[in-house]
């Protein structure tokens, strides 16, 4: 039956992967169907894991289903900025000792999992909304809450509803100063904050081959900001090369059928996209950089699971090299993982950042979540490559966050106001 489903030309990626991976794989599931998936990897982090641990204890489950498939990641506030956070981190380490599950400290979960564990065709649930990042390499990956995570730890399974799908056809070539983040921002601005709610997004078209795995990860990660359940790049030659280099094998390489039916279809000509900025308060208030240029900023943040990868830091370094961060403005640069951090030091990026006057921190979610390493005070303004600009996200509820690519954030750090990165590239 599995082979038949794999070859079925009428199925979307979501229909296909759920039908193949569902218990028994005995039938084809269509949007709206509810079924149960066995889980290959379960992740919780330091702001969802402690609650899952509490719930797991209250359920009274004696053991976890498979400790090798459960990852606890301390990333959001690492290392602990205060005693209260430290106590919750301690709770996680104690759980790791008791149940033998995996512990990761000091890399952002999504980047760590992509670098080390995710493979195409796997089923990954994470107690973190940006878990959908792993769709960048053709995995079923989506976010859940803490209680459902505790249920996964207990049983290794979880219910899913088959989502409807959206197709985005990417064509054209990047113009100077435009990056993956600008594409996904443009898309969110088009469909709105809930434009992908309950849906699976498939990124297709001739321009996909030009996107690095890191750029696809940025797009899949940030797609969450329109509410999607999955955000998928099918396996192609780049994906295969990525996993060959890491010596990891696919579980399934799933391709949507040519006759699959989509709820909506969008065409994006990358050549027409310019640097994009989302105005404070809502992720879908997306403007061209020229419309907000000149807005003074107190801080520029380059980092997060959306845009803290090596290729992001390379662009930031290219812009900052030979320049100084404007006096009165802070520039905080935070890598997404330990390996990104190491690479940035080894290849001289760290030196460029420090010479520019930026702060270069350890790998963590950092300023994005407003607990440490760049918290905003009353009425402060930040331009940030992180995913969210909601009220109080990075600190005081009167502070304001503009979202952009790392390039736009770096250019803005130099000028102390929102700036067009194309002048520096």
């Amino acid at each position: 039956m599995r082979q038949g489903i794999l070859n079925d030309d009428s199925l979307t990626f979501a229909e296909k992967i759920i039908s193949i991976r569902a218990d028994g794989a005995e039938k084809i599931h269509r949007p709206g169907d509810i079924t149960v998936l066995p889980v290959d990897l379960a992740m919780a982090q330091d702001s969802t894991g402690p609650l899952a641990i509490k719930v797991f204890g209250e359920m009274g489950v004696p053991r976890v289903w498979d400790p090798s498939k459960i990852h606890l990641v301390i990333d959001h506030s690492f290392p602990a900025p205060d005693e209260k956070v430290a106590n919750l981190h301690h709770l996680m380490r104690e759980f790791v000792k008791k149940y033998g599950v995996r512990l990761v400290e000091g890399s952002i979960s999504h980047q760590h999992l992509l670098e080390n564990h995710v493979v195409p065709g796997m089923v990954l649930f994470g107690a973190d909304s940006h878990t959908c990042q792993a769709g960048a390499v053709g995995a079923f990956a989506t976010g859940i809450g803490s209680s459902e995570m505790a249920a996964v730890w207990a049983s290794g399974k979880l219910w899913v509803k088959v989502p409807e799908s959206i197709k985005v056809n990417l064509t054209g070539q990047f113009k100077k100063g435009v990056f993956a983040r600008d594409i996904v921002s443009h898309f969110i601005g088009t469909v709105g904050e809930d434009g992908g709610n309950y849906r699976s997004i498939e990124w297709k078209g001739p321009a996909v081959k030009d996107l690095s795995i890191a750029s696809r990860a940025c797009i899949s990660n940030n797609s969450m900001e329109c509410g999607c359940k999955l955000s998928i790049f099918e396996v192609d030659a780049s994906t295969q090369e990525y996993f060959r280099s890491k010596n990891r094998k696919s579980m399934y390489e799933i391709h949507a059928g040519s006759k699959a039916s989509y709820k909506d279809e969008y065409d994006i000509d990358i050549g027409k996209i310019v640097p994009e900025v989302a105005e404070p308060g809502n992720v879908d208030k997306v403007k061209e950089v020229g419309e907000v240029e000149g807005t003074p900023v107190d801080q520029a943040f380059i980092g997060s699971s959306t845009n803290g990868r090596y290729e992001d830091l390379v662009v930031a370094a290219k812009i900052l090299k030979g320049h100084k961060v404007k006096t009165g403005t802070r520039c905080v640069i935070t890598p997404a993982s330990k390996s990104v951090f190491e690479q940035a030091i080894k290849n001289g990026l760290a030196e460029i950042f420090l010479q520019s006057g930026a702060v270069f921190t350890n790998a963590t979610c950092g300023a994005c979540v407003g607990t440490h390493l760049g918290v905003l005070g009353e009425n402060e303004v930040c331009i940030s490559s992180s995913p969210r600009n909601y009220i109080g996200r990075m600190g005081a509820i009167t502070s304001k966050i503009y979202l952009s690519s790392p390039a736009t954030a770096a250019a803005s750090a130099i000028e102390g106001k929102i700036a067009d990165p194309r002048r520096y590239l």
């Binding site: 489950v61 205060d82 909304s129 809450g145 309950y198 996200r393």
Partner: protein, 180 residues
């Protein structure tokens, strides 16, 4: 704990796109594992004093996409432990909606409801019929939800369900097509 089948209460009316950062900011929820403490920060992004103003049995009525953004279960937990009895919205963000059932907080999706209700209206929710009765007597059916999820909600969420049944509601589920 089993929920009563009719909930009556006064409403707090919220706009479209209320995200989980507004419902409980990260910096508070990341520093406690105590639901009573979380409730002190409920709706902080709109009103840091909300927890002093809310009364037991109050109901939320929101616009579209309530609970968007982060997966944080602390958001519905903060609402539940503020003693808000149920959340009604034009639509919910996916993870928030799942979390409501997982923790036993009634969440009803009722298209058009935000235009039918004003702040502090007295309204009624029937969890048996899965409908909302507004002040003018109008009955508004909520979007249907699979029975296993309503059962989970009635039993008070996953902890209570597991303690009683020693399994999870979907483990005994016949996989089948549903309306939506």
């Amino acid at each position: 704990m089993t929920s009563p089948s009719v909930l009556k209460g006064r409403t707090w009316v919220w706009p479209d796109d209320v995200n989980t950062d507004i419902i409980i900011p990260f910096r508070f929820k990341a520093r406690t594992n105590d639901p009573v403490e979380m409730a002190k920060y409920a709706m902080y992004g709109f009103d840091p004093e909300f927890y002093k103003k809310v009364k037991a049995g109050d109901l939320f009525v929101a616009g579209k996409n309530f609970g968007g953004g982060s997966s944080r279960e602390q958001a519905p937990v903060a609402i539940k432990y503020s003693n808000v009895a149920a959340v009604i919205a034009e639509s919910f963000a996916r993870i928030f909606y799942r979390n409501c059932f997982a923790i036993g907080l009634p969440a009803l999706e009722v298209p058009g409801i935000s235009k039918q209700v004003k702040q502090f209206d007295e309204i009624e929710i029937n969890l048996q019929d899965w409908s909302v009765t507004t002040r003018d007597g109008g009955v508004h059916p909520a979007v249907k939800v699979p029975e296993f999820l309503r059962g989970l909600m009635r039993e008070g969420g996953l902890v209570e369900y597991y303690k009683r049944h020693h399994n999870f509601p979907w483990e005994t589920l016949e996989t089948k097509a549903v309306a939506r």
